[in-house]
């Protein structure tokens, strides 16, 4: 168990080092002179040369990498070409909005996907199973940004039920603003007992969260269904059936726990995927998060920002995978003792 975990940590560290090398190379080989981008299109040659020195671009590459790594280790992701402000603080200000979105999306996906996957596996080949499978295929096949537009057309334009975009209504911003504590607006407004703001934030969260939920939902349904079908074929499930245990008890209380480890791995995977997915969704909903920030950075060739986001998501991904490994060890006692 210890050996297993040390291995995973080492692999995680290796992935992060690889990531840093990769992002470093990308920023250095990128077409276009970062120094020139830094000072803007109308700068003189002298200004560009001064910027080259300021940014350390005149030093040998290994030295540049060493400095880059040292900066990374201190949480310094460089300066944004756009704003000349530290990328790390910009990311810190945008990340909570994205996390709120992604966490809500994943929670929706789990709450709907887990039971649907179990119910589908209980009658493979049945009508319910067919519907669940079709839903799952559609939701992993739908382009998220298009789903976002579709939801806007239906729930904002046609039904008028939910707001079009933004995190909270202008009225709330003007009259009763939410003070930032966690950066999750729904949580902050609750902490402050600001109910009007809470419901506004919640209503704004629904469409983007559902959009984000689509892909993980589909994956979870498929994963739960497939691994549950495998579990159901095992002797210990058959024994419970032969001893008269109820189908729902067997499925939800027993077999689901066996099917959980692969499902958790998939959930961790989709968390990072969804964080990247915000690149495509946030701009549609004018959601002031990491995805919007990155989409902007991509358009303006703001490499330090793109690479900063890449590293942050990479770290989240690696850490999440480690956490899942730990949780799986908690579920399956055999992993703990081996």
């Amino acid at each position: 168990m210890l050996h297993f975990f040390v291995r995973r940590v080492l692999l995680g560290v290796l992935v992060l080092i690889g990531l840093s090398v990769l992002t470093f190379i990308i920023t250095r080989v990128a077409p276009g002179d970062p120094a020139a981008l830094w000072v803007g299109p109308r700068a003189s040659v002298a200004q560009i040369e001064r910027a080259t020195v300021t940014l350390g671009l005149n030093r040998p590459l290994p030295v540049q990498y060493a400095i880059y790594m040292d900066d990374l280790a201190h949480g310094n992701l460089g300066l944004s070409i756009e704003t000349h402000r530290p990328v790390s603080s910009e990311i810190a200000s945008y990340l909570p909005a994205s996390l709120e979105l992604v966490v809500s999306g994943i929670v929706i996906a789990i709450l709907l996907g887990l039971p649907l996957g179990v119910l589908a596996a209980m009658r493979p080949g049945g009508v319910f199973d067919a519907v669940a499978r079709l839903l799952a295929v559609l939701s992993v096949s739908v382009p998220t940004f298009w789903l976002a537009f579709l939801l806007q057309i239906v729930f904002f334009k046609d039904l008028g039920l939910l707001p079009l975009a933004g995190r909270v209504s202008n009225l709330v911003i003007a009259l009763d603003p939410i003070t930032r504590i966690t950066g999750f607006m729904t949580v902050d407004s609750l902490l402050q007992g600001n109910w009007v703001a809470f419901f506004s934030a919640l209503r704004h969260l629904v469409l983007p969260a559902v959009t984000i939920a689509a892909y993980p939902f589909g994956l979870i349904v498929r994963m739960v269904r497939a691994s549950l079908l495998d579990v159901i074929a095992l002797d210990h499930v058959r024994l419970l059936r032969a001893l008269g245990q109820k189908r729902y008890t067997i499925a939800f209380r027993y077999a689901l726990k066996n099917a959980l480890p692969p499902t958790l791995t998939v959930i961790a995977l989709t968390f990072a995927y969804s964080l990247t997915g915000t690149f495509l969704v946030e701009s549609v909903f004018n959601w002031p998060g990491l995805g919007n920030y990155t989409a902007q950075a991509v358009i303006t060739n703001n490499y330090p920002a793109v690479m900063g986001v890449t590293i942050v998501i990479g770290v989240i991904y690696v850490v999440l995978n480690l956490v899942v490994d730990l949780v799986i060890a908690g579920i399956d006692p055999r992993v703990r003792y081996v």
Binding site: R133, V142, V298, V318
Partner: protein, 282 residues
């Protein structure tokens, strides 16, 4: 024949539907220039008098802000989207299979180095990597395809390596080695043909995801550039008209949804056939 077909279709209804839809898309992609009612619209023709018309018999999917027939754009876009996805997969296969063959056959430090590198690339989300690479290379369809291939190959390396490992000591490989064949020749002539099937199957199952990613990159402005008719790009162009002209983004998105769903259904079916096992009941 007829009876066998009926039996198959009934047991694999979803896969059969997927296959039919897929066949329609492939035919469309091949025949698009001939069946598109206004093929010139994809080549830069504009009709200011016909801008933003709702769906009608003349324009089954309506027109865009330049008066171009969206139906024609979607039809011709199938070539770009399906073709781009296909090329991506082929590139990823080339990289992945080459590295996997080397790693599996060479063994030792080379194997270790290649596999650790593979782990690293697998260690973060492929869309993220594709965005990072595409953003660096600059926006173009070719760069998007390259970026996706560069983030997609590790899966195939892993698969082919495990195949090679199981074949490395097979009798026919030993015989080839003893008769003095070069490692490259052994790999290509003797091992590859026997190792390639599962990788190709996996690759065909990934095609849907790749097409989806390509559409996403184009939507971000990192993929196809105007006036290339690409589904993701059409939707990006239409985003300012979402609330006023619903058909503009709806139909190209529907095309993506249908094509990718069909590919995924067929992939699932393929997987079922290859990994058929007795299932339990509850």
């Amino acid at each position: 024949m007829g009876r066998t077909l009926r039996f198959y279709v009934r047991r694999n209804l979803m896969t059969s539907i997927g296959l039919c839809v897929l066949a329609v898309f492939v035919l469309t992609a091949i025949l698009a220039p001939w069946i598109a009612p206004y093929p010139g619209d994809a080549a830069g023709l504009v009709h200011p008098a016909h801008q933003l018309l709702p769906p009608s018999w003349q324009h089954p999917m309506g027109t865009d802000e330049l008066g171009r027939d969206l139906f024609s754009l979607v039809l011709l876009g199938s070539r770009v989207s399906l073709g781009g996805g296909f090329v991506t997969i082929v590139f990823a296969l080339l990289i992945g299979v080459t590295l996997g063959l080397i790693a599996g056959y060479a063994g030792g430090w080379l194997d270790e180095a290649i596999m650790r590198f593979t782990d690293i690339v697998l260690g973060f989300p492929s869309l993220l990597l594709a965005v990072a690479i595409a953003a660096t290379l600059g926006p173009s369809l070719d760069h998007a395809v390259l970026a996706m291939a560069l983030s997609w190959w590790p899966w195939y390396t892993r698969l082919i390596r495990s195949q090679v490992l199981s074949l490395r000591n097979a009798d026919f490989v030993q015989a080839a080695r003893l008769s003095g064949r070069s490692p490259a020749r052994i790999l290509v002539r003797h091992i590859l043909p026997n190792a390639v099937t599962p990788v190709v199957v996996q690759a065909s199952m990934d095609l849907g995801s790749v097409i989806l990613t390509l559409a996403g990159l184009s939507f971000l402005g990192l993929g196809a550039q105007p006036p290339t008719p690409e589904w993701g790009l059409i939707i990006a162009n239409g985003q300012n008209y979402v609330l006023t002209n619903w058909w503009y983004v709806t139909f190209p998105g529907l095309a993506i949804l249908l094509a990718v769903s069909a590919l995924n259904l067929v992939g699932d079916g393929l997987n079922d056939v290859l990994n058929r096992r007795e299932r339990g009941v509850l």
